[in-house]
Every structure is written in structure tokens, then in C-alpha cells.
Symmetry: C2
Subunit: 312 residues, 2 copies
DNA sequence: AGTCTTCGATCATGGACGCTGATCGCTGGA
DNA sequence: TCCAGCGATCAGCGTCCATGATCGAAGACT
């Protein structure tokens, strides 16, 4: 009755294995789990009896324990199962909270200003029953974490997405452009300025933002550390400062108001690799029809935006 | 203490949910699981208490039950968890059987004859410690099922792979060629024969084989049902019959001995879409270094084979 | 060398919890 | 109207798991 043995496998066993692996000892794990050391010891003993293999190497004495190969492999499965369980829990809590007709969307500023209005208008037209809850975050990392924790159903994100339980869809590639005051010598230049030339200018930048970090590291790679004279969180403020002659800025095209007569927007022709904006969601969680429709609408809207650009 | 509630979740609860969904009633599920109806009833009750939502709609009386939305979603998670658990079990059993240095590979004949010798020679040279166990199957479907059940670590397969817990790597595209007796009028033809012309010929084919089904359906699509005068499982027999003038054959190039002077091999120039051969393995199972090396070696060998072909 | 400390294993015990078997309520069909 | 099918409920029993104390092993410190 091998199969029967595995039926006796308990989730707490797997949790114990993971906790021990994290904490580094039976006793610590017991503390973290609210059990006695004895209990954890017995849990691992049963687990090892079930799988028929030693999972943890206990050298004895105060020496640190280690996972055997079987333990390592089983741990990976255990983590996957726990993750899936968390996803299930998130789905159930969402249903419990009456989220059937609600969609929680994470955004950041450069998306919010340009893409969202069109997208939201079109989506609410076609899906009037769905309530959209927007969550704009200054700290972009937070958005992914919220998706993982099930606090967001889908979020905008700058691809690629780091490893994790995610799936995503590419929406549009957003090139970086140089924004200079209308009278700037760089505007009169016949050719595209080099990164080094840009680094020599006083720079107006964003405060905390993945895009800005990207720009600065690219500029720094050109040999000269950029001289950032002012930072702001707000797209309009940055562009206003540039228009006032405080400095130049390198921004994603999406954040730039191209109708502003005080500034000149210069295509950098890929000297800084463009960022790719996409929508990210949790791989394991339930995707409601509303969520799928939202992604599709976003793809459509962004596709049209890209088409407009190439036409212009 | 919401979190505590979820800690009490038991695998048997999820199994019960799935069994009920499969069997269609509490009582049947109880029978299938070896429990009492009462027990199953209580299991679902606790499960619903844990998740805080009604999972199964019981209309009362002899009417059939149905899953609620929450039940459907949770069931999907439950199935994923069960699948992962089976993968873990397969990994543990493999380790228990001392499979650390063993690699079980599924093949079918057309791969076996051409690719395998080179691949095995090179792999055993670079990995002398790994014992390779080959499993050649006439019934190709069986190979995938064996991978799913954990009885094979990796298998050759004709892509695309149907949905399931699989990952794969493309190895090479194997075009279909027409094999005719040396004196055949088709061999004298200046142009590539059409599928209809081929259908008019007596055909020598393979017995049961995905490739053959593919060929016949393609030929049938050309308007005339092909006239198969003889079938064999064996590549050599098929080619021998063609050489003896019994008929012509449409075969994957990999299965053809191009050195045979009795036959002429005619490129069909993609008139029948080529098959793509790949290696498939279980998405959730542990991939040993040996398995990964095997895939890499296979890719290398097949890459060289493809290069030789284009050179010729 | 001896003692202390740390850590996991072991054991008996008490309590919680899940399964059983019987019974009840409900509903649709004969 | 009665009956069959199905799930809910309840008391009782058995099992199994966490507890708390104790033990053995092995490094660290004096």
C-alpha cells in the first residue's frame, strides 16, 4: 500500500520542512510555527516515513542541519504547493469580498497619464458592470508584490518581469527621448546627441523610479556621471523645469507632453534601450473574464497608440 | 485568525472535492474513496468552513449537485496541487529506486534508427556514470502518458505536444520525402510530383504511427484516397518493398536509408508539412543534471544533423 | 579533562478531531 | 401517497498528534 502512505501526507509536514529549511534548525522552526521541538521532530519523522527517504541530514550536536538531495527536491515541490495554496486562498478571499465584479489594477505614473484614460473609458463602456479599483504606487516593486499577495488582480509593469509566479502580456515599447528647452543648442543640433553630450548637461530627473534608474545607469555607462540638478515625482513638474531652462531631461516618451511649445523633444534613436510596458498577473490565480477583457482592451489601446506613433 | 483556518486545510478535503466533482454525488464519492457518505459530508462541511464559502450547490432530494463558482475555482487549484503532489511522489520513488544515475528515455522507431546511435555514443562518452534506459514504444501516445506518470524522465515526441504538464525542446524538423523504386517514372520526372499524383500510386506505408496518419490525411486532402497496398512497422521492410517495386512510400526523411541504390528519394519540398521532433519532459518533476545534459546533447547532435542536410 | 550548551530523538499521556453508523429531512417520481 | 435517493446531523468511539520531560550526542569553553 504505497499509495496509502502518501494519502497520509499532511500539509503541515511540508510547511514544517520549509520552515526548517528557512530557519536552519528544528527548534527555531518549532518556535516559528508555534509548536514544540518535539512536534516538529515527529512531523519530519512521519514525513520521512511517508516518502521513504531521509530528507534532512542531522549531524548531531550543535552542528547545523542540511537537506539531503531528496529533501531539496521535495522542498521545491512543497514550495510550489504552498504557493498554489496561497493563490487559492487569495481567490477565495476575493470571492468572499464580492470581487466578482471588481478588478484591482496597479499602475505607475508614466502609464497613468497617457494610456489609462483611453483604456478606462473604453473598458467601462464595454464592461459597465465591472468596478475598476486603481492603485498607483510610487514604489514600483510594491506592485509586483501586491500581485503575488493577491491584493491586485493585474498590474502595469516594465518588462521583463523578474522570476516569480507571474504571467504577462506585452503592451507597447516606449522609447526614451531627450527633452530640452526650446532654445537649447542641443535642439539646433542636426544629429542625435550622444549620451556623453547629454551627460554634460544639467539634468532634471524623476525621484524614485525604475525608468530613471535605467536612464542614469545608461548615461553613467557612457563615461561621465550625469549631473542631476533637480528631481521630481511629477511628469509635469519635470517638463516645466526643462521648459524653464533649468536643464534637460531624458524621459520615456509616454511621460512627455508633446504639445508643450517650451520644450523640444528629440528622438534618441534607441541610444537608450526603450522600456517595454506590459500587464502582469499572477500565474496561479483565477483570471476572471473581466481581467482577460481588460488585458485585451489594453493591448488594443496600446496597439493603436503605437500605430499613431509610427504614422506620425 | 483567518490564517489559522487555512492551516487546518487537509489534502483529503481537496481530494474529496475532486472526487465529488468527478462522481457527481457525495455518496458515490464516498464509495470511491472508501469512506462513509457521512464522512465526505463532514469533509466538505469543514472545507467550506475553512474557505468561508459554499463550494457545492446541493439542491436537495435526488437532484444532482453542482459546483459553485468558488468550488470550480478551488477545484482547479486542487487539481494542480494533486498533480504537483504526484510529481513529488514520482521524484521520491525515483530517488528511492536509486535513479540518481539513471535516465529513462522514450523513443519511437524513426528517431531510434538515425539520431539515437550518435546521441547515445556522445552522451555516454561525456557522462559515463549515467545509465540510459531506452523504452521504445509502438504506440506513441503511451510515451507521453508514461512521462506524466513519472515512468519516463524524458521522451522523444512529434511536436506540438498536447496540453498537459509538459515542457519540451525542439530538436529538428524532419521533412517528408517520397521514396520510389529506382526505375519509377516518378523518379524521371523533372518536377516535384503533386500529392494527387502520389495518391494514384500504390503506397507502402507504416502500420500504426502518428507520422503515417499525418501522411495519409494529407494525401486524402488532395482529393483521392491513397491506395495502401502494404503496411509494416519496420523502416527497412517498407523501403525494401519500395525497392522491390511493390509501391512508393512517403516517409519522414529520418526513416530513409539514403544509401539504398534500389530506391530514389524525392524531396517533396514541403508539400506535406514537415514534422518537428522534440524532447518532452514533465514540467513539475525534478530535472537531474543528467537529464538536462541529455537534452543539450540531443540538441547539439540534431543541430549538426540539420547542418549536414542543408550542406548536402 | 571536565562541564556546559545546543540540538534532535524518544516516550507516555492527554486531548482533539475525524470516521462510523443510525437517523432525519427533503424532494421528485411511481 | 408512498418510496427511493441524497445529504445533514448527532453521539460515540478510535486514532493520531502535540505536549513536556528526559536522554544522547557532539562541539565549545575553561
Amino acid at each position: 500500500m504505497d499509495a496509502d502512505r502518501w494519502m497520509g501526507l499532511d500539509l503541515r509536514h511540508l510547511v514544517a520542512l520549509k520552515t526548517i529549511s528557512d530557519e536552519g534548525s528544528f527548534g527555531k522552526a518549532a518556535g516559528a510555527l508555534g509548536y514544540t521541538q518535539s512536534a516538529v521532530s515527529q512531523q519530519i519523522a512521519t514525513l520521512e516515513r511517508i516518502v521513504g527517504l531521509r530528507l534532512i541530514e542531522r549531524p548531531g550536536g550543535p552542528r547545523p542541519i542540511s537537506l539531503t538531495e531528496a529533501g531539496t527536491i521535495l522542498l521545491r515541490h512543497a514550495e510550489a504547493i504552498q504557493a498554489r495554496l496561497l493563490a487559492a486562498k487569495a481567490d477565495m478571499l476575493a470571492l468572499e469580498a464580492g470581487d466578482a465584479g471588481r478588478l484591482r489594477v496597479g499602475t505607475f505614473q508614466s502609464v497613468g497619464a497617457r494610456v489609462l484614460p483611453t483604456l478606462l473609458r473604453r473598458f467601462t463602456e464595454t464592461h459597465p458592470g465591472v468596478e475598476i479599483v486603481l492603485r498607483e504606487s510610487v514604489n514600483e516593486e510594491e506592485l509586483l508584490e501586491m500581485v503575488e499577495r493577491g491584493e491586485l488582480d493585474v498590474t502595469f509593469w516594465t518588462l521583463p518581469v523578474e522570476t516569480g509566479p507571474y504571467e504577462w502580456s506585452e503592451l507597447l515599447t516606449d522609447p526614451y527621448v531627450l527633452v530640452v528647452p526650446a532654445g537649447s543648442p542641443l535642439a539646433a543640433l542636426k544629429r542625435t546627441p550622444t549620451l556623453k553630450e547629454i551627460s554634460l548637461q544639467p539634468l532634471v530627473g524623476f525621484s524614485y523610479c525604475a525608468a530613471m534608474n535605467h536612464v542614469e545607469s545608461q548615461l553613467a555607462a557612457s563615461g561621465r556621471t550625469p549631473n542631476v540638478v533637480f528631481r521630481s515625482d511629477n511628469n509635469g513638474t519635470v517638463q516645466g523645469l526643462v521648459g524653464a531652462g533649468v536643464g534637460v531631461s531624458v524621459s520615456p516618451l509616454l511621460t512627455v507632453d508633446e504639445g508643450d511649445a517650451d520644450v523640444v523633444v528629440i528622438d534618441l534613436l534607441g541610444r537608450i534601450p526603450p522600456r517595454v510596458i506590459g500587464l502582469v498577473w499572477h500565474r496561479d490565480r483565477h483570471r476572471s473574464p473581466a481581467a482577460e477583457a481588460f488585458v485585451e482592451t489594453a493591448r488594443a489601446v496600446c496597439g493603436e497608440l503605437a500605430a499613431e506613433r509610427t504614422a506620425a
